[in-house]
Symmetry: C2
Subunit: 453 residues, 2 copies
């Protein structure tokens, strides 16, 4: 069986929801449908989630909410009309929203937002289930209350193992299951939203719980591109990509998936297919545990700016067992994660996302490294970009690093850092931010232009 | 003033000791002479230190030592005869050795070796001072007892700050000071030898203590070569090299200096000149804090085998603050130091010298990384070499990494790891051991052949 998740634009209007129905009907193995809240119908439109945030903000500010609630309801009413549904479903949604507003009257700010925002997916799932039934598709709305059990960590909501056990029963359902994305409930009955990855994570959890053969993720693009199309002109489409290639490319320009969302399917080796609701016959991009890497060495190139380099040098550093560990511990105590730690015998650089730093933190780190590690020299430099060349086939291709470095040299940019792990799925370069786009173009030219797409 | 250290072959015979005298006479600023024990006079010869080890082993085995002592004495007698010294000095050395044998009769194994071995330098210093005086050079033997105070760590003997204070008085000596290398005394009067760097470290300590303008290190080669002459045919001579270049090159094929030996002069920025006792007019190699790096980007290329790679992968590793630190901590708790830690988003490799590993350690590490860090995959691979391209000028040269990687690609070898720190004094490559020599030759060709030497 397949689990199909539809993003906001795929369920934004009656027209789009009809496409969803037709997609489900066209393949009998599509048994579980995860839906987002209605998204934008056109570029100037407002997402239902944003309309619900307006309602939540009014509640918190103790301002009237009626107009704002009406705006939300209007979207459902438009869709119900377009889908030929009667007013009953809209009445139910109206009552649900009014009840939520009452329920949160004295709740914490966080709960107000969670409960209001989650209604977007929840009510859309109810309407889509109603529509499916109205056209003769036996369907059933299932609430996350019935099994999607999450942990109690407010900042990092994740499904707990109990969820997988309970949701696995859905594989035996006689009807098509319509399940709202984006939220779950703690064992104490508290609603929690997935901060990162939204509805994608719900789909991945369900796919893992029922042991789906495929997790189809319907969005509004035909595929994932091999480079950021905002920088590179008409980049090649990626037909097949492995989980770890997807991860390594997640730096930037590859925002189709939030990588944490994939975790449940990665653990079980379930393949993912990114498809376009508006062009369902296009093959899309397949994300899988393994793939035939013989066709092209490089799968994609991504780039991201906003990196800083912490440089530390000390004579005979590599003789000192524990130096690197102590340095990383100082960063850890400041809550800082890092990307890479290239090193010489007597120096080490730590590549850090700059947003994690501020002057006070930098000064504390500089002082501690000087005083506790007796470093000869320690400093921060800012304004770097990381360029990552990714491909499962890279490890079989001699001379690839040479080609990449030569392409970068053609732009006149100096390479500040090179990092190639022994896995060889990725090769990353640190460069000055100003060269980022030019290097991305040159690397794309190097690895893709000669190959027919 | 200059401190001059002479290695074993430079003081192996009367003929060589005469060269030393002539070198000291030719420059009035050469005021402190540090000497090794007599080394090999020809390739089949035995070093006095090795003869003394024979004596020590006999003492430990409770076997007769007379023949073995006689072999040691014979060397001094030959030298005394060649230098025209009377029997008095040889009598004194004989008594000294006999006294040492008595002193260590009930001592620990370590003390037997230390006391016997140290006599090689000590007695040679006495003889050389006597020779200097015999030809009219006012000279004075100084014992390490008079100031070379070392710490009490048996495994890592180092001079303590008191030593520098006491030895600084030598700068005012009227005579040429002849000082034995290789050993010092603890504050409790215990003799300790320098395990690493031998007499080089004594010279460096004296140079730092008296604030020498130059530390001259006389050996039997004209210079340090830019690559291992056993692999590369007639490599270029290095005229100038910085401390940190020397350090980065210390992997292999650059065994003129043990890098820890340089520490005392590095701290004070005292330049070092490596010269040839047998060709003192050759300029030698100058090791200095800074140098003009504009002439040639690459100073040298070194290579070393015997590396292992610990590979660890885990989905979403880079989101996990503390993962790298915990991994390094596990290694630290096993007493393992590492060279580099190249990484991707979800994997990290730790490059380790293989001699630090054994099956039991590897299994413990694999188990801990799996159980404590919940890694998806963890394994060790062995049989790697590291090739290091070093040069202060590299940071100014665009395309250097490209040239190096291209040269390696020409050998058909796959690059397993690339590490370039932000300092850019060095660029290191991990490759399969079997490609090491071929790559070294190809890189030498790339960076040195086009430049006239």
């Amino acid at each position: 069986m397949k689990v199909c998740k539809f993003g906001g634009t795929s369920v934004a209007s009656a027209e789009q929801i009809k496409k969803v129905a037709s997609i489900i009907q066209s393949d009998a193995s599509r048994r579980i449908v995860v839906v987002s809240a209605p998204g934008k119908r056109h570029s100037d439109d407002v997402k239902v989630t944003d309309l619900l945030i307006d309602v939540a903000e009014a509640i918190i500010a103790k301002q009237p909410v009626d107009d704002k609630l009406a705006a939300v309801l209007q979207r459902y009413e438009d869709n119900a009309a377009g889908l030929g549904l009667d007013q009953k479903i809209c009445e139910m949604i109206k009552e649900d929203l009014q009840q939520r507003c009452k329920d949160v009257a004295t709740a914490s700010v966080e709960k107000v937002f969670d409960l209001l925002k989650a209604s977007g997916e929840d009510n859309n799932a109810k309407m889509i289930a109603a529509y499916f039934n109205s056209i003769g598709m036996a369907a059933r709305y299932v609430s996350p209350k019935d099994g999607l059990v999450v942990n109690d960590a407010p900042e990092r909501t994740m499904a707990i193992s109990q969820a997988y056990d309970q949701l696995s029963a859905l594989k035996n359902a006689a009807e098509i299951i319509v399940f709202p994305g984006f939220f779950g409930f703690t064992t104490a009955g508290q609603l929690r939203t997935f901060d990162r990855g939204g509805s994608d994570i719900t789909g991945a959890i369900l796919a893992a719980a029922v042991g789906a053969e495929l997790y189809e993720n319907f969005t509004d693009v035909d595929c994932v591109f091999s480079a950021n199309p905002k920088v590179v002109n008409s980049p090649a489409e990626i037909v097949e990509i492995t989980y770890r290639e997807m991860r390594e490319l997640s730096y930037a320009g590859f925002s189709v998936f939030h990588d944490e969302a994939l975790m449940p399917v990665v653990k079980q080796g379930i393949p993912v297919n990114i498809k376009n609701t508006n062009n369902p016959s296009a093959p899309g991009t397949h994300i899988m545990p393994k793939r035939d890497a013989s066709k092209r060495a490089v799968t994609g190139i991504s780039a991201d700016s906003g990196f800083s380099i912490l440089y530390v040098s000390k004579y005979l550093m590599n003789r000192e067992i524990g130096f690197g560990r102590k340095l990383l511990q100082i960063l850890e105590e400041e809550g800082i994660s890092y990307e890479h730690t290239p090193s010489g015998l007597d120096d080490i650089s730590v590549i850090i996302r700059s947003f994690q730093l501020d002057e006070a933190k930098e000064n504390r780190i500089l002082q501690r490294v000087t005083e506790e590690l007796y470093a000869d020299d320690v400093n921060f430099r800012h304004g770097f970009s990381m360029i990552v060349v990714v491909g499962e086939g890279m490890k079989y291709k001699t001379g690839l690093a040479a080609s990449a470095a030569t392409a970068i040299a053609r732009t006149g940019a100096n390479i500040e850092m090179i990092n190639q792990g022994s896995s060889e799925v990725s090769l990353s370069f640190g460069v000055l931010q100003k060269y980022e786009n030019e290097i991305l173009k040159e690397l794309y030219e190097e690895f893709f232009s000669a190959v027919s797409v």
